[in-house]
């Protein structure tokens, strides 16, 4: 079985790939006890600092540690440059798409995407039609999930354009590796990632409302019980901006203020980690206690920037995903550099028929689902799980898409029985404002259960440090 998967470290003949050679030498010369000791040290340190995430559906306030693996995922320089070019192209097109559908809707008039797919999508926000946002940027922070399959070619699995998380683990994982194994960093030239918060802050400052020369940026969190609260605290602290909750903000005369001990202070840019639905009880969910009444109105008046913009969900929706290569052609006149995974749209009768006949081979996802909840991985599912899912699909086919089960690449990983291959993906974070940027690499997630293809932390996934080498082999 393993032979069918691309292995990040060794090739089909079992020979080390060039960019892993220096690491493998080090691993071979490092005593097992030292590695075990270092793994324990990492565990203690992560617990003490409290790098945890809350798990939904378990007892309120349950906090778990995301397992950290000490074997890095290594990417050679050339490979990263190609990947980065593809990411920038893709995110640029997605931003152009969002700007278009909330203005002239040329792509719909050109007939490239069925209009009802966009306009009747629950993630489409009519409130945003005709609203001009700073620099025409909607997705200021994108976390694009990349997997490698087959012979090693990359696919985009998902474009996360709403409130993608995980970047704090990318930074903490690097900090941990440098603390545990400083010698590795003198043996390799590894591109740094810890300046991400600086880049993020700079990016947010470039999209402040017009005429604001020294913008006040805040990070809006749903609060301490959100699963990503650690990350919100971390980023606010690293950027040196206030971590606010909805009740800390209020709107007067279409201007947003925060309540401080020195009286109201104007807010210009809100990096919000709160979903659209909860942002403003006057405009969206009426019973939201997390939002700020009047925020949408201040936003439409151009007095505050929201990052990401309202209504980005329509561009990362799984039913829109199949059209991204079209968008790249339409807006940029280019061919997509990154592959899309072939996708069956179950709203289409012929696709539905095919998928129902091949459920045991396919991955079926809820169109609006996220976090690995509500999906079927055919090859890993039991007969009854498949039959249950079949009933759910038949009840509402337009809620689902299906994709072939990708043979996700493997990376050597420490498990109870020693070092074994486990499936990985990669989430690079793309920042868009006046310019576009990425820190090299991203967050590598690893499925710790043997054979599992689900890397989400809520489903037992772990993380690895991700190294982009500054030269090809070291």
């Amino acid at each position: 079985m393993t032979a069918n998967f691309y292995n990040e470290m060794v090739d089909d003949e079992g020979k080390l790939r060039a960019h892993y050679r220096a690491f493998a030498d080090w691993l071979a010369s490092t005593p097992a006890e030292r590695l075990a000791r270092k793994r324990a040290e990492a565990d203690t340190a992560f617990h003490r600092v409290g790098i945890t995430f809350a798990v939904y559906g378990e007892e309120a306030g349950t906090e778990r540690l995301i397992p950290f693996d000490i074997i890095p995922r290594i990417i050679p320089a050339g490979e990263w440059q190609a990947l980065q070019a593809g990411l920038w192209q893709r995110v640029t097109a997605l931003n152009a798409f969002l700007n278009d559908i909330y203005h002239a809707q040329e792509i719909l008039r050109a007939g490239l995407i069925p209009p009802e797919q966009v306009l009747r999508n629950p993630q489409f926000r009519p409130e945003m039609i005709g609203v001009d946002v700073a620099s025409g940027i909607y997705a200021h922070v994108a976390g694009v999930d990349i997997v490698r399959a087959g012979a090693g070619e990359s696919y985009v699995l998902e474009d996360n354009l709403r409130v993608p998380s995980g970047v704090s683990y990318m930074i903490e994982d690097r900090k941990m590796m440098m603390r545990l194994f400083p010698e590795l960093f003198s043996r390799h030239k590894i591109a740094p990632v810890q300046h991400y918060p600086d880049m993020l802050l700079e990016n947010l400052r470039t999209v402040a409302p017009q005429g604001v020369s020294d913008p006040t940026v805040v990070l809006l969190t749903p609060g301490a019980y959100n699963s990503a609260y650690f990350e919100h605290t971390f980023l606010a602290q690293q950027m040196g901006v206030e971590l606010v909750e909805g009740r800390d903000l209020f709107v007067r005369d279409d201007t947003v203020y925060m309540r401080t001990t020195q009286g109201p202070q104007r807010v210009d840019v809100i990096y919000r980690r709160l979903d659209d639905d909860f942002l403003d009880p006057l405009a969206f969910k009426k019973d939201s206690m997390l939002g700020v009444p009047g925020l949408l109105s201040a936003y439409r008046a151009g007095n505050v920037t929201l990052a990401n913009a309202i209504g980005t969900g329509v561009a990362d929706d799984k039913s829109i995903y199949p059209y991204v290569p079209e968008m790249i052609r339409f807006y940029l006149g280019e061919t997509a550099l990154l592959n899309n995974v072939p996708t069956w749209i179950l709203r289409r009768p012929e696709d539905l028929a095919y998928v129902l006949a091949h459920l045991p081979e396919l991955v079926v996802k809820e169109v609006h689902g996220a976090g690995g909840y509500g999906m079927l991985v055919g090859p890993a599912a039991s007969k009854s799980e498949i039959e249950n899912f079949r009933a759910r699909i038949l009840a509402a086919p337009d809620k689902y898409i299906a994709q072939p089960t990708l043979a996700l690449s493997n990376c050597p990983t420490f498990v109870d029985t020693g070092i074994a291959p486990r499936h990985v993906d990669l989430r690079p974070f793309v920042l868009s404002g006046k310019g576009i940027g990425t820190v090299p690499g991203g967050l590598t997630r690893v499925a710790l259960r043997a054979g599992s293809l689900v890397v989400n932390s809520s489903q037992g996934g772990g993380t690895k440090d991700t190294w982009v080498l500054e030269s090809e082999n070291a």
């Binding site: 003490r48 301490a224 605290t233 971390f234 309540r259 401080t260 001990t261 009286g263 109201p264």
Partner: protein
């Protein structure tokens, strides 16, 4: 800084200080209960502790009778009692958790570890090991948190709100401890020998026994004890020292609407600064302390209105 952040920091300090002073109060009561006396008057003392916190009704709903063990359980370990040491330390931790980005790592860890350790101690074990050991632990953890706060935090508004909360709570609590013991002592009449132990236990409970010996060469008298805990500026838990700190903190955080609160704090301070103990006692100590606690309560109100829930 954000009003909500200031609010959490202020209450983090208040709850930590409250837990410490509750440990001090219960400790002195427990020590006194070991002195020879009738069971009836002993239980009267425990009833006074409940009355002090207006908890008689809440207590009566769960416990059949007022006695040492029941009151200690209620005030130490009962999560349903919002005033128990357990509840205070939980509230301190929750406030810290909400603003952990504002705290230094060491501070967060000391508050969090205190809560995690407390959760592992069951009341039976606490009693078995000796309740005084537990009270010492609470005092020590509070001292640790205070030390880490002063030793690691930037001298900015965050620290000022923490200190303000701690001082306000401490002033109130010292007044309460003194008021209650004074009351009990007066009720019991004049048994000079027992009184010596009572007064020294009271002094010990606020870490003032050795201080008293250093400051006064005479025997322990109620008037001197009252003077030490109310008027001495150099006694860190005295009402005067607390009021002095409150005035200084308010100057540091002043904003456009806080003038009236500053004025009230100034009045409170002046009344302590220029007072003589004979005058205080002549007007009745209980009335004096009740007035002080009332003023602290109103100051807390003003601080909340001016800084913590401000629009």
């Amino acid at each position: 800084m954000l009003s909500r952040t200031a609010d959490h920091l202020y209450w983090l300090a208040r709850y930590t200080e409250r837990a410490e002073n509750l440990a001090r109060l219960l400790d002195v009561s427990y020590q006194m209960s070991l002195l020879p006396q009738s069971v009836a008057s002993q239980n009267e003392n425990w009833r006074a502790i409940l009355a002090l916190n207006s908890l008689e009704d809440a207590f009566a709903q769960v416990y059949a009778e007022v006695n040492v063990e029941n009151v200690l359980h209620f005030m130490v370990s009962d999560p349903a009692n919002p005033s128990s040491i357990h509840s205070c330390l939980r509230a301190a931790r929750e406030n810290a958790h909400a603003v952990r980005g504002t705290l230094t790592a060491e501070m967060w860890e000391s508050v969090n570890a205190t809560w995690l350790e407390l959760r592992q101690q069951h009341f039976d074990q606490i009693l078995a090991r000796g309740i005084s050991e537990f009270f010492d632990w609470v005092k020590l953890r509070s001292a640790l948190i205070r030390g880490v706060t002063f030793g690691t935090m930037l001298r900015d508004d965050a620290l000022h709100f923490i200190r303000l909360g701690g001082l306000l709570e401490r002033g109130d609590n010292t007044a309460r401890i003194l008021d209650m013991q004074y009351h009990v002592l007066h009720q019991n009449g004049d048994e000079a020998a027992t009184d010596f132990y009572r007064w020294s236990a009271l002094l010990r409970s606020v870490s003032a026994f050795q201080v008293y010996r250093k400051v006064y060469s005479e025997a322990i008298t109620p008037a001197r004890v009252a003077e030490l805990l109310i008027l001495r500026m150099d006694m860190p838990r005295s009402l005067h020292a607390c009021a002095d700190g409150i005035v200084r903190m308010l100057q540091l955080i002043a904003n456009r609407v806080s003038a009236e609160t500053e004025r009230q704090a100034g009045v409170l301070h002046a009344r302590l600064h220029f007072a003589r103990i004979d005058d205080v006692l002549a007007g009745g100590l209980h009335a004096y302390l009740a007035d002080f606690m009332d003023r602290i309560y109103h100051l807390g109100d003003g601080i909340s209105r001016d800084f913590l829930v401000a629009a």
